[in-house]
């Protein structure tokens, strides 16, 4: 009897020890997967937000894979406007079938402050628009999640993702259909991207030391669609000399004598242009406008006097 009791006490102690050990393992990042509804019909589109809860830690780098029932859903669009992302390392791009993502948050991230609550709350890293292809029950979550502490050492911390379970029915649910229209259909965002940083530099790691531009714009709507660059004189700004570009962009005029304009275009077609002045301005006598002004300046008074003389005559 005594031996039986002793064994039970030992088992209980072991259980308590294991429980205490595992309960103390806290996740420093939890990804919340949020959709306003969880029941949809075939052909419905619905938006799912992925929010990061740093659980009181300060984190500055996040990575993961968008994992979902690909037999039931297809991912149609990623919306990355108005998010906590500082700089993308790998943007999730639905078109190529790879849904990995990673980004950094300079200065660290504990959550988002707002006047509508006290303390920090989870902030959105991006949202994705899914299309329900066929009936069934499926899931959406983030797998292979990684988070790094803002401690200057690159310390990896534990991460966890909620799983969103979604049901798709064959029957057409009109209320769900109306709700799940993409946001851009409901109202048009007319706000241009915010003022953004464009920096010019050179480094031997990029095109053997050629001068390049680095840029990154923030936007409050559905996200940046693309960037365009124009190199040349300001009078060509309104032509079709713009080329699509990505950061870092190796500039064509390595003599740095051209004006450079970088245009950020968001997903609703709104744009914002930033200018980089030439480091080495061309000499004044190379400008045609200067010679036109000189010629006009000389000839207009001449013709005026002739005209006056002719009138009095």
């Amino acid at each position: 009897m005594k031996i039986f009791m002793k064994k039970n006490v030992l088992k209980f102690c072991g259980f308590v020890a294991v429980f205490v050990m595992f309960s103390s393992v806290a996740f420093a990042m939890n990804v919340e997967v949020i959709s306003a509804k969880k029941i949809f019909s075939v052909d419905d589109r619905f938006e799912v937000s992925f929010k990061v809860d740093a659980q009181g830690e300060s984190i500055n780098a996040v990575a993961g894979t968008i994992d979902f029932s690909s037999d039931l859903f297809s991912m149609e669009e990623i919306r990355n406007g108005n998010t906590i992302v500082g700089n993308w390392v790998q943007k999730p791009v639905p078109s190529n079938g790879v849904f990995d993502f990673s980004f950094i948050i300079p200065h660290g991230y504990k959550g988002v402050l707002s006047p509508y609550y006290s303390g920090y709350k989870p902030g959105k890293m991006f949202s994705a628009v899914f299309l329900a292809k066929k009936a069934g029950s499926g899931y959406i979550k983030i797998s292979n999640g990684e988070a790094y502490l803002n401690d200057g050492k690159g310390t990896k911390t534990n991460s966890h993702s909620d799983t969103l379970y979604v049901d798709v029915s064959d029957t057409v649910n009109s209320s769900a259909k109306a709700y799940t229209k993409p946001k851009s259909v409901d109202f048009k965002d007319v706000l241009p991207p915010n003022k953004f940083v464009v920096l010019l530099s050179s480094d031997e790691s990029i095109s053997d030391g050629k001068c390049f531009l680095a840029f990154d714009a923030k936007v409050s709507g559905d996200g940046i669609d693309h960037y365009e660059i124009y190199e040349g004189k300001p009078n060509g700004l309104y032509g079709d000399n713009w080329v699509r570009a990505e950061s870092p962009y190796v500039i064509k005029d390595q003599t740095l004598s051209s004006y450079i304009y970088v245009k950020a275009v968001d997903k609703n077609g709104n744009s914002k242009i930033e200018q980089v002045l030439p480091a080495n301005l061309e000499p004044w006598y190379t400008y045609i406008s200067f010679w036109v002004a000189i010629i006009l300046g000389c000839f207009i008074p001449f013709f005026m006097t002739r005209f006056k003389f002719w009138r009095f005559k």
């Binding site: 660290g108 402050l113 690159g154």
Partner: protein, 300 residues
């Protein structure tokens, strides 16, 4: 039994030591409230609320008397202004679009030393006046030399809120030596000095940082100053300005330019030279951990 107690004590003291050496990086007690047009202060969780006015943010907090304060939004300069004579400041930031923005504040003291940046993400609602208070900029601090002999006199000084307790913490860089802190009081101009005479410094690398306490709120720890105790005084080139490894182009800023250069080597095979320059944690590869290290030292 005695042996068991001894083991317990040693484990306990180890944990205690770890707690002392880990600094609370961002002790941010920023208060955020909003006045939405047509409403008073709201507690609606939806972040909604809208009016015709374009949103602006009313910032206030604590720095140093007459400090020059810079505010950046999403890495763009959004304003420069001076703190009042008593070290407090308030400033209105106009022209902000609604949505989530990265706000950063830093101050320059009367000796042109910059504080550590205080950053936070703020969701600015549309059509509202957002009030952000208790922005407490951490003290500046620097030493009069970079290297000292073991018997040399060391002096640290900096600026904080006036007549305020400032906690100066000296720590060894490798964590092997004992850390200690000292409370000093800033004068009416916010100036404080710390002379660790009587403290025993073994030869080695140290760093010193400070935080202040005002109106019941602690600031975050400020920028740290490295110094070295050696057997003779000589300034070391490696400890000069812009010596941070993550500042790849050595322009004294860690920013987008360093990020795109580091990104060129992300998950790619490294040459010997590239390993030396881009592998910050010396694990033989450039991955998200290295970018995380860079993000920790981001300046603009």
């Amino acid at each position: 039994m005695i042996k068991k107690t001894k083991i317990f004590c040693s484990v306990f003291s180890l944990l205690f030591f770890c707690n002392v050496t880990v600094f609370a990086d961002e002790s941010l007690d920023v208060n955020v409230t909003a006045v939405v047009e047509g409403h008073s202060s709201s507690s609606d969780d939806s972040g909604g609320g809208g009016g015709a006015i374009s949103p602006y943010v009313n910032c206030s907090g604590y720095a140093y008397p007459n400090a020059k304060i810079t505010v950046e939004i999403d890495d763009n300069n959004a304003g420069e202004f001076n703190a009042y004579n008593d070290g407090t400041f308030s400033y209105k930031i106009y022209g902000i679009t609604s949505g989530i923005h990265d706000f950063s504040f830093y101050a320059k003291d009367l000796k042109y030393r910059s504080s550590k940046k205080l950053s936070f993400l703020l969701d600015v609602p549309n059509g509202s006046i957002t009030n952000v208070s208790n922005i407490f900029i951490s003290p500046t601090i620097s030493s009069d030399k970079l290297e000292y002999g073991a018997k040399d006199k060391i002096k640290f000084d900096g600026y904080s809120m006036p007549n305020t307790p400032v906690y100066v913490v000296v720590n060894s860089s490798d964590g092997a030596l004992k850390s200690f802190s000292k409370e000093v009081i800033s004068d009416k101009n916010g100036y404080f000095e710390y002379d660790p005479t009587g403290s025993v410094f073994n030869y080695g690398d140290y760093f010193v940082t400070a935080r202040a306490l005002y109106a019941g709120i602690f600031s975050a720890f400020g920028s740290s100053v490295d110094f070295q105790v050696i057997d003779k005084i000589s300034l070391s080139a490696s400890r000069q300005k812009c010596s941070m490894k993550v500042d790849l182009n050595k322009d004294c800023e860690v920013n987008l330019l360093d990020f795109v250069v580091e990104f060129m080597w992300y998950k790619k095979p490294l040459t010997k030279e590239a390993k030396k320059r881009f592998d910050f944690n010396n694990d033989g590869k450039v991955d998200l951990a290295d970018l995380s290290i860079m993000a920790s030292y981001w300046t603009k």
